[in-house]
Every structure is written in C-alpha cells, then in structure tokens.
C-alpha cells in the first residue's frame, strides 16, 4: 500500500516553518459552496496557490444500493442525484434500462419526455443563474429566477403530483399520460419565459460588477477542457462543440431545429452567456415539440414481460393480477450484457452504465455524473488567482452535490 499517500488531513503535508502561507478551510457548511462541498485553499495573501476540493459529505452509496434493488425500484434513487433536475436523471436511467432490454417506447411518451426534459433544463439553469449571481453580489435575480422556476415545478406537479422528486419516468414509458390542460400551461409558460429572459439580460448581462467579477475569471483552454473530461455548458463555454442532442440524437432531437451556443474565451462570462442562450434554445425546442406532440396514443411500451398490466385488468382478471404480483415481488429478468446510455443533462453528459448478469437486479450500475467530473476543473481555474474568484468558479461550474457525491 506504499503507493497510497497517507494523509489524514485532506490537503497533505504541513508547511515548512517560516513560510508565509495560510490554509483556509471553506465549507462543508458554507452558503457559496452550493451544498456540502469542502474546499481547502492555501493562500499567499489573497492569492490562491493550491486549491483542493473535498467532496463526499453527501455520499449515500447510490451505486451500492442499486445493486440490491430491482430495476424499477432504482428510479426514485435517481431523483436524489441531481436534485435540481430529477426528471433528467430518471430519463437517463430508464433509457439505459430500455437499451439493455431493447425496449421500444411509444412516440407520445418520447415527446412528453423531451418537453419535460427541456423544461427541467430551464429549471436547473434558473437555479444556477440565481445562485451564481447571488454569490457574486446580486440578490434580486435570485427571486426572479425562483418565480419562473415555480411555474415549471407546477407543471411537474400537475403531471405526477411531485415537484422535486418526480419519478415520472417508467421503464418503457411514463407513469401516466399528462393531464388535460398540460399543453396550454406549457405554452403559457414558454411565452412568459421568453419575456423573462430579456429581463434577466437587462438585470445582469451588462452589469459592471457582474462583468468585472466574471470576465477573464476561471479560464479553461479547449484542450484542457477535453482532457479534464468536462461536458455540457462548462465544455461549450471553452468553444468545444459537443452537445449530445446533436452528436448522438436521442429521443427526437434530430427532428427539431435548435442552435448550440458556444463560448470563445472559456471564462466564466462565456459560460454565463452559453447557459442563458441554452435556456432560450430550450424554449424553442419546447415550442416545436408541443406542435409535434401526437394527440393520442399510449405512453407505455407494449411488452408484458417488463410492463405491469393495466390497472383495470389487474383488478378484474385473475391472470393479470397474478402477473402484477409476480412482477412486483420478483422484478423482471434482463438479458445478460451491458448498456451505457447518456443524455445531455443540464450539467453535462449524464450517463448510466449497467452490467446485467441476467437477474432482475443490476450486477453493477455506474453513474457517470457530470458534476463530479466537472468539479475537477476547479483547481485549474482558481490556482494563481484571488480568493474571491474561487466563489465565482464554484458557481460557474454549476455543481450539485447530490450528484457529485452520489
């Protein structure tokens, strides 16, 4: 075990005597770390010489738990990863299982998934927008952002009854069809939100304090960004064109028209502009998808081996009731093999990798969490800069600790 450094204090060796350095401990209870992130910063005056993020305070062992649960029982666990975009987590997980099973999902379910996934992206970006600007000193935009996010949560509530831990996706489709009035409500929101974005730009984009705190801060060169494995807006802010919705279209993204905003300098301000534009593009996507949403149709796949029988049948017929009980108690078997499915989540590439040994529980499930990988960029962004920039950089990476620690 001699290769493993024995460091009881995170951060390593103590300083030599007489060195003019100071070690500052930020977090895990610190409002600007967006949860329970600890960052250990070595300072020379105001200058950061070493920055060491220490994640893990929210580790719940989701992957271990998943190995001991049936495939359907894992969906609620995924809500608790990136708790700002639970629907996207559900979606990535069920897509991985559907890929493993080779399951066809009906079009209406896929379109609804697409619409809700984009709404969820807006909701997640709104929280990022509000907290990021608040970290830098503007309290007002946070309140506006939460106001708009509230409408999206209302939409989720009307679909499935929950606002945060939605668990709306099912393997092979959705829990239920959307209720009456869904389309109108989403249309109203999109119209209103397109005006709100203009307000946000007026409030923040040219604000001299915001510009001063973000331009040239946290620069990541394109090569470094790729080597660090960054994805999502954090990567595209550096000008690398990788959006899974374009690169490997899933759902029906290939039928829709939208742009992928790219940054040029790779600093915090570019990433800000990229995310703001992504919200505008998301509204475009939602509008187009609503127009293409089929009027009627099933929202659950037709595969009796995997899907539970319809409620009215299982309550009235003996065979269906037996099948219902059997599936709830024993789960469903899967083919031996492995599958990796990923989506362009709000933070980056969110992937689920499932190894199956043929039983009704995954043999191994790995969550490729974008926040975890993106957080690695923090030392490179902050070292050699002022302490106050650490706050900007944590905000600009857009982490959610539930996903970092899993």
């Amino acid at each position: 075990m001699q290769d493993v450094k024995d460091k009881t204090i995170p951060g390593g060796e103590d300083f030599a005597q007489g060195e003019k350095r100071m070690r500052l401990n930020m977090g895990p209870q610190h409002p600007s770390t967006h949860g329970v992130l600890q960052v250990i910063v070595d300072l020379e005056g105001e200058l950061v010489v070493r920055c060491d993020p220490v994640p893990g305070y929210l580790h719940r062992g989701t992957e271990k738990l998943a190995e001991n649960k049936y495939y359907t029982q894992i969906i609620p666990l995924t809500d608790r990863l990136d708790y700002l975009s639970p629907f996207n987590n559900n979606l990535a997980y069920v897509m991985a299982v559907e890929k493993l099973l080779g399951l066809e999902v009906p079009p209406r379910a896929q379109w609804i998934r697409l619409i809700l996934s984009e709404l969820q992206r807006i909701a997640s970006h709104l929280i990022w927008f509000g907290t990021h600007v608040m970290d830098i000193g503007g309290i007002t935009p946070f309140l506006y952002a939460l106001r708009d996010r509230e409408t999206i949560l209302d939409i989720f509530e009307m679909c499935c009854g929950a606002r945060l831990t939605v668990s709306y996706c099912r393997i092979g489709g959705l829990m239920a069809d959307v209720p009456a009035g869904f389309v109108e409500k989403v249309q109203d929101f999109v119209k209103l939100f397109q005006l709100s974005i203009k307000d946000y730009h007026k409030m923040v984009t040219k604000n001299p304090i915001f510009v001063g705190r973000t331009v040239g801060v946290g620069v990541i060169a394109p090569d470094d960004a790729v080597s660090l494995g960054l994805t999502g807006p954090t990567l595209r802010g550096s000008g690398v064109n990788l959006d899974l919705r374009k690169a490997e279209p899933y759902l029906y993204y290939d039928q829709l028209d939208f742009d992928v905003p790219l940054g040029t300098k790779g600093d915090s301000y570019d990433r800000y502009l990229v995310r703001m534009e992504e919200m505008a593009q998301a509204t475009r996507l939602v509008e187009q998808a609503l127009a293409k949403l089929p009027e009627k149709g099933p929202v659950k796949a037709d595969d009796p081996k995997v899907m539970l029988p319809p409620k009215e049948l299982s309550m009235s017929r003996a065979e269906e009731m037996q099948r219902h009980f059997y599936q709830v108690i024993h789960g469903f078997p899967t083919p031996v093999g492995e599958a990796y499915a990923s989506i362009e989540g709000s933070k980056g590439e969110l992937g689920f990798y499932i190894i199956s040994d043929g039983s009704s529980r995954p043999y191994r499930m790995k969550i490729r969490a974008p926040s975890f990988v993106n957080l690695q960029a923090l030392p490179m962004m902050t070292e050699g800069r002022m302490l106050a920039d650490v706050i900007t950089c944590i905000g600009t990476i857009d982490i959610v600790l539930g996903e970092v620690d899993r």
């Binding site: 075990m1 290769d3 493993v4 450094k5 460091k7 009881t8 995170p10 994640p55 893990g56 580790h59 062992g61 992957e63 271990k64 738990l65 190995e67 001991n68 890929k99 493993l100 080779g102 470094d224 790729v226 080597s227 660090l228 494995g229 690398v240 064109n241 990788l242 690169a247 490997e248 093999g337 492995e338 599958a339 990796y340 990923s342 590439e349 992937g351 990798y353 190894i355 043999y363 191994r364 790995k366 490729r368 975890f372 990988v373 957080l375 690695q376 620690d405 899993r406």
Partner: protein, 154 residues
C-alpha cells in the same frame, strides 16, 4: 458496427495482435477486452491515432467478480468529439493497474473513486487517496463481499 469503429478495431488488432482478447458488440456498443500488460499502450494508441481520435475519456470505472482470480474489471468509456463514435475498453486485474492520468487528466478523480470504492491501486497516479468515503474508512464498499449495511452499527 459503424465503419469508423471497424477501422478502429482493425487497427487495434493489427498493432496489438494477441493482446486484444475479444471484440464484442451488444446493443450497438462495441467492447474491446485487452490484456492487462497492453492496457496503457492500447489506450495511448486510441488517444493518439487520428482514425481513433478518442480525445474524451467519458468514464473510468470497475466491476468486481470475486470468484475470478483477477477479480476486477477496469472499464473505460471513450468518445471522439470529431468522429462522434464511442468505444468501451476493458481489462481484468487483481488490485494493481497502471494509471491513465498521463493520457487523460480526468482519470485523476475517476481513479481516486475506483480506489476508494474498490481498492484498486493505480500505479503512477499523482494523488491516490480516498475521495467519497472518509479518510479513515475501513474496507471498500463496492466490492461484492462488502455488506450493504456496512460493518459498523452507528
């Protein structure tokens, strides 16, 4: 199999011969299993070669098969941003393997996570210490012989 991936597999088999143990395809995903001795060189080649162009390491993880002699599978997911193809590379090892940090910097935390949860030691890793569990944690939770509820009553 996609044409671009066929080229990749062909090139790998030409260059590494017997070191490529198997090529499998399942649900449009290609998995290449290589010998542990050729692990680093294969991945270096996949990164450098312009036809492969796997500049982005999406993920590195492990899986535990306690009944095997070399009980761990190390699994790497690669992607090319330009060609937009994906590849999965696997090898098996018992507790020690070369670190991929010299090729992709993202391996830093991903390997720390594998060390933390499986106890695989990555040789040449610059900063191998626990990342998700506590520093003084005993055992490696994602091993199959580790109970779900843990060893201690809290």
């Amino acid at each position: 199999m996609r044409e671009s991936l066929q080229t990749v597999v062909q090139k790998l088999q030409e260059k590494f011969g017997d070191n490529v143990l198997s090529v499998a395809e399942f649900r449009d995903e290609v998995t290449v299993r290589v010998k542990k001795s050729a692990w680093f060189d294969t991945l270096q080649f996949l990164n450098d070669d312009p036809d492969c162009d796997f500049k982005l390491m999406v993920d590195e993880t492990a899986a535990d098969y306690p009944l095997r002699e070399e009980r761990f599978d190390i699994i790497v997911h690669l992607m090319s941003i330009e060609i937009k193809h994906r590849l999965r590379v696997k090898t098996s090892t018992s507790e020690r393997i070369l670190s991929l940090y010299p090729i992709w910097k993202t391996a830093n935390w991903l390997e720390r996570e594998v060390y933390d949860l499986f106890g695989v030691i990555f040789e040449g890793h610059p900063d191998l210490r626990r990342i998700l569990m506590m520093d003084d944690w005993e055992g490696f939770p994602l091993r199959k012989d580790y109970p779900v509820e843990g060893y201690d009553d809290f």
